[in-house]
Amino acid sequence: MIFRAVEDTDLIRQATRGGVESYNLLVSRWEKRVYNYLLRITANREDALDLTQDVFLKAYQNLRKLDDATRFAPWLYRIAHNEAYSMFRKRRPETDVAELEPEATGNKITLGGSSVFPIELSLAVASALNRLSPDQREAVVLKIYQGFKFEEMAEILSCPVSTIKSRLYTALELLKIELAPVNARGMS
């Protein structure tokens, strides 16, 4: 665990009392995580960056409405989720949100080929994630990449824990099947 001289809850309290610098510090702590969450659900860098900016501005404007400072993370991600789905709706208002797919703009997410993971594996993972439904993908992103608890995910996505678990476990089954051959070749 990373030791922090000032906890988020203290920063939130100070920011609520008008401490702009405290809020700036909060932004610098959370911007990368929020950006990557939005990047994985929109699959577009420009959209993710614009949305991240909007999320932090909106969060600042509504910070006084946050009753429990310890719930900052799910509250912030709830704003991020709402902003992303609001953008999807504006772009394709006639489509059911559950059917919305990330934008195919040619500005795709960079795949993380590294010395630890071969590029083929990253490609296979990106492709497998793209085959999931948006709801399933978001559940995977929130659980695996962002490390939220089921209860927090339910708060972010505004649905029961049972629904969250169902989406995540179905997605995991699909991913296991999709990635089994790659895992057998590259990671065993």
């Binding site: 702009v20 932004v27 990106a126 695996i144 990449y145 990671m187």
Partner: protein, 207 residues
């Protein structure tokens, strides 16, 4: 999938209460099927982690950044009129001065009465009468009006600020799009340049 009544996936994500978590842990040690399932989950998770987090291309603008700041003229205006209390005090002081000065001025301007008229109060008693009751009411009214005006002005200023921010953001987006386009063009030119091969003139080559 996993041995009932356990949900191995809940165990894998550490979502079970502590006693149950230990129970499943003990079970996994003795159950080959569950162990294999757990291995598969771990492999899948490890594969997913091959997609790394990206660095944010540019830092998010802070609320204290210039882009969110009003113009110097607005800042000065806000500093002067920003406080309702200050405005109320200034208004009340001006009103008091006006009330004290106006009877004196009117007395100087008006011609003096020719004869003594009984029943007409003296100027000093008028001032004294007004200062007791009416002045306070007038001050209260003036302060309330001034505060209402300041509130209305603040609302207008916030709306203007939001509109300015939107304009700035649009400009930034346009600039970013132009930059992106020029980058792509530069990359295209670079690729074309690298694909182009200079004709070689060797000794054995037919001219």
């Amino acid at each position: 999938m996993s041995c009932p009544p356990f949900d191995l996936r809940d165990y894998f994500f550490k979502e079970l209460p502590n006693p149950r978590q230990r129970e499943v842990e003990a079970h996994v040690k003795s159950c080959q099927v569950c162990r294999e399932e757990l291995d598969r989950l771990q492999l899948t998770e490890a594969a997913l982690f091959s997609l790394r987090d990206e660095e944010i291309p540019q830092r998010i603008a802070f609320v204290s950044d210039k882009v969110f700041e009003p113009s110097p003229w607005r800042r000065g205006w806000a500093a002067f009129w920003g406080s309702s209390a200050r405005l109320g005090f200034a208004s009340a002081a001006m009103l008091s001065v006006a009330l004290l000065v106006s009877p004196l001025v009117s007395q100087l301007v008006r011609p003096a009465p020719v004869g003594h008229v009984s029943g007409v109060p003296k100027a000093s008693s008028v001032v004294a009468h007004v200062s007791d009751a009416d002045i306070q009411t007038r001050i209260d009214n003036a302060v309330a009006k001034a505060i209402a005006e300041v509130d209305a002005r603040q609302t207008r200023k916030v709306a203007q600020l939001v509109a300015d921010l939107r304009n700035e953001r649009t400009k930034m987006l346009v600039a970013a799009a132009e930059y992106d386009w020029s980058q792509k063009r530069a990359n295209g030119l670079r690729i074309s340049a690298s694909a182009y091969q200079m004709p070689r003139i060797g000794a054995g080559e037919v001219k």
